[in-house]
């Protein structure tokens, strides 16, 4: 590694942009939090029930993160080293689970694992007792369902960052699978895995509906529910804010651990050939990959299939407000995407030198939406009618929620890029706009497209964030789905969920495809 890969002289402008992004993101979370404390007149201490909620929350988040990445590694590896018909479709569909509104995803899971689901019907058919999905294992199962695809996709990016030339060299040196793993794949995983685990942990930490619905009862109380109770039952804003601070502290701690354990060592640049994996061309490994992919496809696609099946029935005669809401959601997603990718790029630039910056990006999913939303309300209310800001605030909140994902993808990519091409670009005197135009954008096109796709689908689908600042005139699609369910119209809600799923996947496909027009990844 070079002693100083980033010469100080180019620092000025792009660094300034980076710090603006840091200020924006942390201000967006910290000021509302302070506003809630100020309104509460100080902090108040959580009770014993809150602490046990915290214990459960951390336990289920750790388990969910562990199983998500433990399963994502073989899946991403299989996808990285196999070419087969439908691979592109499978990668696109991997994006589906985490954009589903939580309750829609849960109903899909129940169609498979529930009391009268496929699994239990099969069990009954062979004469076995039914399996029970409700409990800690059900919560973890659902979180793995939602997050495994995300983890897989980010890891797949990691695999794709290893130049094809390395595998060619490995093959010519007669490396077996074990050597390739130790010398090529493991270093990449050490750089990538902790970050992925950290993101999944952070998402699960603020889980609310999944944990409660599948947890089977108050044993499965999460911190977010405790915050909810503090706000609703006791109107104890001080306690709600303290719990939100604990959430943030936990995520920060996780981020520090993750960054500490992720070793960075780039592979250098190649010629962007599609890797051929000589060492994996053996029958046992082929079989392993086929079984892995088949199992994960079943695990993810059966519940999705149930969502689609239910949706098709409700698609007919969807009420006009659903289509209106779909249009609102698309515009919202596009605005959020631009914001998220812009912020992620600015933060990724700084993160090359100050790796801790990546933790800033996590703030958006670390903090309780209820507390932050309340804080923003408190800040806006004296100045102006908060509803007028509904669109802007929602777009920003969505961008914040998508930021950690975009950053996870862009930060390592930009780091490698600058390490590999930075000196050359420097020696050519390529700076500012020229550097962006000729080096960064072309070389980063794939991760940029992918992260934009992620951001778009997340802003489209994340009910939590979108429902935050609903405006009766301009309800978003996830909010309309919830309203349909609240009005007994479960079939129409399923149809609307299918519309949401299709639109989000369409957006994802467009961005992602745009990013890899030239390469078949």
């Amino acid at each position: 590694m070079a002693a100083r890969p980033f010469p100080l002289r180019r620092a000025a402008f792009s660094d300034a942009l980076g710090w603006v992004a840091v200020a924006l993101v942390s201000g967006f979370i910290l000021f509302p939090l302070l506003a809630v404390f100020w309104r509460a007149g100080g902090a108040s201490l959580p009770g014993p029930a809150d602490w046990s909620a915290l214990r459960f929350t951390v336990l289920q988040s750790v388990l969910s993160a562990f199983f998500s990445i433990a399963l994502a590694v073989p899946v991403a590896r299989a996808l990285a080293r196999r070419q087969f018909a439908g691979r592109g479709l499978m990668i696109t569909l991997l994006g589906a689970p985490f954009i589903l509104p939580v309750i829609v995803g849960v109903l899909g899971l129940l169609a498979v694992f529930g009391r009268s689901g496929i699994v239990n019907q099969a069990m009954a058919w062979v004469g076995l007792p039914p399996v029970q999905i409700y409990g800690l294992h059900g919560v973890v199962l659902a979180h793995v369902f939602f997050n495994l695809p995300l983890a897989t996709r980010i890891l797949l990016q990691g695999w794709q960052s290893i130049p094809a030339e390395r595998f060619r060299l490995a093959a010519s040196l007669g490396f077996g699978p074990r050597d390739v793993f130790h010398l090529l794949e493991w270093p990449m995983l050490r750089a990538t895995l902790p970050g992925v685990a950290m993101v999944v942990f952070a998402i699960c930490l603020s889980s609310f509906a999944v944990a409660l619905t599948l947890g089977g009862g108050p044993r499965a109380t999460t911190v977010e529910l405790a915050i909810y109770q503090a706000f609703r039952f006791d109107f104890d804003l001080g306690r709600a804010a303290v719990l939100a601070v604990i959430q943030i502290a936990l995520v920060t701690l996780a981020a520090m651990l993750a960054l500490r354990f992720s070793l960075l060592d780039g592979f250098g640049r190649g010629l962007d050939r599609i890797p051929r994996r000589w060492e994996a061309e053996t029958w046992p490994l082929r079989l392993l990959d086929i079984v892995t992919l088949a199992l994960v496809a079943l695990f993810l696609m059966l519940p999705l299939g149930a969502v689609i099946w239910r949706g098709l029935a409700g698609l007919e005669g969807l009420p006009p407000p659903v289509w209106r809401a779909a249009a609102v959601s698309i515009v919202m997603a596009l605005v959020s995407t631009v914001l998220a990718v812009g912020l992620a790029l600015a933060l990724a630039h700084l993160a090359r030198r100050w790796r801790g910056i990546e933790a800033v990006g996590l703030l958006g999913i670390a903090a309780s939406p209820l507390v932050i939303g309340t804080g923003i309300f408190l800040l806006l209310n004296p100045l102006s009618d908060p509803s007028r800001w509904a669109f802007a605030v929602t777009a920003l909140v969505n961008a914040m929620a998508a930021l950690p994902f975009a950053l996870r993808v862009l930060a390592p990519a930009l780091r490698d890029l600058e390490k590999d091409f930075g000196p050359l670009a420097d020696s050519l005197g390529m700076r500012g706009a020229a550097r962006l135009r000729w080096l960064i954008l072309p070389r980063l096109r794939r991760p940029l497209g992918f992260s934009a796709g992620l951001a778009a689908t997340l802003s489209m689908g994340d009910l939590g964030v979108i429902a935050l600042f609903a405006d009766p005139e301009r309800a978003t699609l996830p909010l309309q789905i919830l309203r349909l369910m609240g009005a007994y119209r479960m079939d129409a809600a399923a149809g609307a969920a299918l519309v949401l799923l299709s639109l989000s996947l369409g957006l994802f496909w467009l961005f992602d495809r745009g990013g890899r027009r030239d390469a078949d990844a």
């Binding site: 947890g215 609703r232 119209r489």
Partner: protein
């Protein structure tokens, strides 16, 4: 309901500037939704008042009260519509409401003479199941049966809280024992009504906590009479939904006019097939036919408003203890 909706809520639209007088009504989100009473109510009231009616949706009843507390006397709201009997004492404590001047002849199963809050609809909580399945006739029979039920968390859901108060009011000191008996019947506890009802329709449980009026939706909208509410011997806990006028309103006359409209035929006739509750004043045309097939509880239960809070905290502790094991 999700916590986020509550904020949905908090930031949802408020009034805009206009020449015509404006009345701002804060209510819960499902009231203003395209499938709720909101659109029809707005049209009918604007036709008679020569004003603009701003219906602002704010999560559910508890979120609504939360928003009001955050705004305090500066609130733009003239009326708050959608608090229920469990929230009235907390709403009283805010000191933000003033007495209305409406003299109403209400059709409620109970005497109602609160000077601040005027009911607009009501209903009974009940377990809803499929016709032809086993039908326990009280909580003890339910606990002894092997029927599975899905309920809502009282900490995040109004029906969930209703069930908590139902058991506590009916059984007093024995409530904890009832919950312990029910623990093995409970498949899961959902954050809100929608999740629970969705789970029930998917076949995850035999019974779901809902309302006695729920089967009417399936009969009217889906021509499906397979859903029934179970009559319980203890009687059924009531939910009465009310509206109140804010003391800081700048439209006191218009606010009173709205409250009068609220208990008139034009508003009340909208309620049964949009909110799926009983109207507080029977419309002249009566109820839709399907409502006559619904069970009529012999006894209506409602905790006295001034004791509801203390009872609630006690009942929640018992509930948590019984179900956390």
């Amino acid at each position: 309901m999700k916590p986020h909706l509550m904020i949905a809520a908090l930031l949802a639209a408020g009034p805009a500037l206009a020449q015509t007088p404006e009345l701002t009504v804060y209510t819960y989100d499902s009231f203003v939704s395209d499938w709720g009473p909101g659109p029809a109510v707005k049209e009918a009231f604007e036709a008679e008042c020569g004003c603009t009616l701003n219906l602002v949706g704010a999560g559910d009843g508890a979120a609504l009260l939360g928003r009001l507390r955050l705004e305090g006397a500066r609130s733009e709201a003239d009326i708050v519509l959608g608090l229920d009997t469990g929230l009235i004492s907390a709403a009283l404590e805010t000191g933000l409401f003033m007495a209305h001047t409406i003299d109403a002849d209400l059709d409620l199963p109970l005497e109602w003479n609160d000077p601040l809050f005027l009911p607009y609809d009501w209903g009974y909580f009940a377990f809803v199941g499929n016709r032809g399945a086993a039908q326990p006739a009280d909580f003890r029979e339910l606990a002894a049966s092997d029927l599975s039920i899905v309920i809502q968390d009282p900490r995040s859901s109004t029906p969930g809280l209703g069930l908590l108060m139902w058991v506590k009011s009916a059984y007093g000191d024995e409530a904890a024992a009832i919950w312990e008996g029910l623990a093995d019947n409970i498949v899961t506890v959902t954050p809100g009504w929608s999740e629970a009802y969705g789970l029930f329709l998917e076949g995850e449980a035999d019974l779901v906590l809902s309302y006695t009026t729920s089967p009417a939706y399936h009969m009217i909208a889906e021509e499906d009479d397979s859903k029934v509410a179970l009559p319980f011997r203890e009687g059924h806990y009531m939910q009465i939904e009310v509206a109140g006028k804010l003391a800081a309103t700048d439209q006191p006359e218009l606010a009173d006019q709205f409250l009068r409209f609220m208990i008139s035929d034009a508003f009340q006739a909208i309620i049964p097939t949009t909110n799926w509750m009983y109207p507080a004043v029977m419309p002249e045309a009566g109820l839709p036919k399907a409502f006559s097939t619904l069970i009529q509880p012999e006894k209506a239960i409602l905790a006295p408003i001034d004791q509801a809070d203390a009872l609630r905290d006690l009942a929640l502790d018992e509930w948590l203890r019984a179900l956390s094991r």
